[in-house]
Amino acid sequence: MSIRTCSWLAVFLLIIAGCATQNQHVMESGSAVELRSFQTRAFDMTDKKKMLNAIIATLQDLDFIIDKADEDLGLVTGTKYSGYQIRMSVIVRPRGETQLAVRASALYNDKAIEEPMPYQDFFTALEKSLFLTAHQVD
């Protein structure tokens, strides 16, 4: 193979490789089921606005600034700066007739947090703010 063919092949491979591996991340996730269970809790209440207010207060207690709050979507997004950056999104939706499900997801320095402990700590703080117990969701 001539040097010329070789270089064309290299360029072609680079383009293909770039596309394939970079696109692969667009829809990729870790173990979705396990992660969802870390990130979700159910509460015995149905007042969505009260829950959103409690989430906002808890995030403020944890030194977050609220970036976005949307009652219709049941969404609150916040950022914390403390030598590091954490961005957190919390979504509230009805779960059956008597419960609300709260799902939190967070990024630590722009990398998804996939460990259970930080979420556990967040829900403990939220429980305190609501005077309610958070139930694990299957």
């Binding site: 030598g83 700590d121 967040f122």
Partner: protein, 177 residues
């Protein structure tokens, strides 16, 4: 294992651990002072008109040169930010002195982006009042344009200035909670 092997293993392990970004253990834990901080950041106003407080808050923030980034009336949230100077003469003098001693100049702080968040909600203990709470944070860039610090601003005197202005704007007294 010889001493040299021991050192090598230690270095290797510390290298591995340094590679993993670990989340600080207290990142999502309420600090022992969180209740006290909440009190310092909050004031009670004798009104149930949360829209009035929020609109007045937006006016005060505009007066202070902030740009409103997010607002939600039903949830009582207002977030605003501005860019400002972050040069600190004391820091510059200290860093120049250090630079003369060591021969390398450490870049000093240049600019900052300050974000404020105002949350208004009904008071839990008083059915005729609303509570306003303000929290602040900032990102500081050095003269090389690199982020030198990201932090929450916890300064009771700044909360006081804000609530004095909010109080004047609403003709309502801001009470400690």
């Amino acid at each position: 294992m010889s001493y040299r092997q021991g050192v090598f293993v230690c270095l290797l392990l510390s290298g591995l651990f340094a590679g993993c970004a670990t989340i600080p253990k207290d990142a999502f834990k309420l600090s022992p002072t969180s209740l006290e901080e909440r009190q310092l950041q909050s004031r009670k106003f004798d009104t149930l008109d949360q829209k009035l407080l929020l609109a007045a808050g937006a006016g005060v923030l505009q007066d202070l040169g902030y740009n409103i980034d997010e607002s939600n009336t039903t949830l009582g949230v207002l977030t605003a930010s501005k860019k400002a100077d972050a040069k600190d003469t004391g820091q510059i003098v200290a860093l120049v002195a250090l630079g003369l001693l060591t021969g390398t100049m450490t870049p000093y702080d240049d600019k900052q982006k300050i974000t404020l968040c105002l949350v208004i909600k009904e008071s839990l203990d008083d059915p005729n009042s609303s509570v306003a709470r303000i929290t602040m944070q900032r990102i500081i860039w050095n003269v090389q344009g690199m982020i030198s610090r990201v932090e929450s601003i916890k300064a009771p005197e700044l909360y006081q200035v804000f609530f004095d202005k909010l109080s004047k704007a609403t003709f309502l007294e801001a009470n400690q909670i």
